[in-house]
């Protein structure tokens, strides 16, 4: 008789029914195997199936699913194994993660345990993202999306978390922001939710940052820091502070930004890890940005050069640093050096097939031409090229600060060389960008 002695474990009746149907067995067959009545099976499937471990083993044997979690306790333990695998993935213990995957991958054979199967798939997507296999991640997410209406809160959390990450990497900050905000909602709704999800908060702030909305970035981060205090934000503090510092510069609070960057630099240099070059490079770049903001070209170049030595050649951040170096060098009137550094950007961006910096290197060429010999027909062509070809493309890519810098140069040029209507157009463009940065969300573009 079922559940007659030792209620050692509980199996969801609903899950039992799903498995029975999936294995194409009748209630009568199961009842016969377990030596009980069909009515008892019916009752068990309607509610909870209480059984001891021996019975559980027999049920699993009957369905030929001995390695698969069935009871609530087994599901809980299996979930813990999935989390353990997730943490191996997150901590980049690749060999261990691959070995451990073999233990948990059996779950995909069991369609009735969809929550667990999907959780497994979500961590597979995270693995693809960390390995930079973006196409695979996209494909897996597309598959998972079909199950979105039936997903529990935890799966929805991971789905939107991964989907937001992919969109952020693919440079769709507005779409990524929507997904991360949904993840935040589902994350708070799931069982055992963390009190504070620092990584997700940072990602959301990064989207605001990418959308060039400095006020929202600052408000969001400061709110998180106020609400959760030093202890909870400790692990993410360096990332929070870098975002805050750059956003402060974007709104003109340069001194506050410099103080924060100094703290960041001390912390990053204190962290004894061979991979901290990227973070230190970014902090140095942002110091350069602060000086450039104040028109201190030489100091800016000094910091940017230091940053370049810390960044990996050809990477997006390296190209950005080089872009700023060329700009500052041209502003100082050192055209041969500027052109020399520009050649390097051209070469690297072509090699990396980085369309953004291929366009920006062309922009720099025009900009240098404009600074070097403004009174020539070629300079006029350069100015028109930037106005008609570069500005719209930068706008599409939310590159508002670069647009503003170019608009300022173009406005000065057109005004000086007798083209007031063009100057007016350029100024209108920069006004609309400033308004957008100050007052609007990126998706209201």
């Amino acid at each position: 008789m079922l559940g007659a002695y030792n209620n050692n474990t509980i199996l969801s009746g609903y899950r039992l029914k799903l498995i029975r149907e999936w294995r194409n067995k009748s209630q009568a067959e199961l009842a016969e195997f377990l030596e009980c009545s069909v009515e008892e099976i019916q009752k068990a499937e309607e509610d909870l199936f209480q059984c001891n471990f021996e019975q559980l083993g027999r049920v699993k044997k009957f369905f030929d699913i001995e390695d698969i979690p069935l009871s609530d306790e087994e599901v809980r333990v299996f979930k813990e194994s999935l989390y353990y695998w997730r943490d191996l993935i997150r901590n980049r213990k690749i060999d261990e993660a691959t070995d451990f995957q073999e233990k948990v991958s059996s779950i995909v054979q069991l369609p009735p345990c969809m929550d667990l199967v999907m959780l497994y798939r979500q961590f597979e997507v995270s693995d693809c993202l960390l390995e930079n296999h973006l196409e695979a991640a996209e494909e897996k997410l597309r598959e998972l999306e079909k199950h979105l209406p039936s997903m529990d809160a935890e799966n929805q959390y991971y789905f939107y978390r991964n989907s937001g990450s992919l969109k952020s990497v693919l440079r769709y900050p507005s779409e990524a922001l929507k997904d991360f905000l949904k993840a935040l909602t589902f994350g708070e709704a799931r069982e055992n939710a963390p009190i504070f999800n620092g990584a997700l908060y940072y990602n959301i702030a990064s989207c605001y940052f990418d959308l060039h909305l400095p006020h929202q970035t600052i408000a969001f981060l400061e709110q998180a820091l106020d609400a959760h205090g030093d202890d909870r934000t400790k692990a993410y503090r360096l990332h929070f502070d870098i975002l805050l510092a750059v956003s402060y510069i974007r709104i003109g609070r340069v001194q506050a930004a410099k103080a924060l960057l100094s703290k960041c630099l001390a912390r990053a240099e204190g962290a004894l890890n061979g991979q901290n070059g990227l973070i230190i490079g970014q902090i140095l770049h942002n110091f350069g940005f602060a000086h450039r903001f104040l028109g201190e070209w030489a100091e800016a170049i000094d910091y940017l050069n230091k940053a370049a030595t810390r960044l990996s050649e050809g990477s997006e951040h390296y190209l950005e640093t080089m872009y700023q170096i060329v700009w500052c060098t041209a502003k100082m009137g050192r055209y041969p050096q500027a052109l020399n550094a520009l050649e390097r950007i051209k070469e690297l961006s072509r090699y990396a097939e980085n369309q953004k910096y291929i366009l920006l290197s062309e922009t720099l060429r025009c900009f240098i031409g404009l600074c070097q010999a403004p009174a020539t027909a070629e300079a006029k062509e350069n100015a028109d090229y930037i106005t008609t070809n570069v500005l719209p493309r930068l706008e599409e890519a939310y590159e508002y600060t670069k647009m503003l810098a170019l608009c300022e140069e173009l406005g000065n040029y057109y005004e000086k060389f007798g083209e007031p209507s063009k100057a007016l157009d350029v100024i209108k463009t920069s006004h609309s960008i400033i308004k957008r940065m100050l007052y609007q969300g990126g998706d209201e573009k």
């Binding site: 991964n162 952020s168 620092g198 975002l243 962290a271 903001f293």
Partner: protein, 55 residues
């Protein structure tokens, strides 16, 4: 008159444009693909070592 108006508008606009604080840009560290603070305790959860792994 029209020219004068344009000239005034340009003058005011240029002041605004030149005073625009943002003329360059900074960079930010990459996003986190996974969380650290909901890790089971046997992996340490959120602590300094997690941050150091990210650096």
């Amino acid at each position: 008159m029209k020219r004068k108006l344009i000239a005034i508008f340009l003058g005011v606009s240029m002041v605004l444009c030149v005073c625009t604080p943002v003329i360059a840009d900074g960079v930010r560290p990459p996003i986190f693909f996974m969380d650290g603070d909901d890790a089971p305790s046997h992996l340490g959860g959120a602590d300094d070592s997690f941050e150091q792994q990210l650096l």
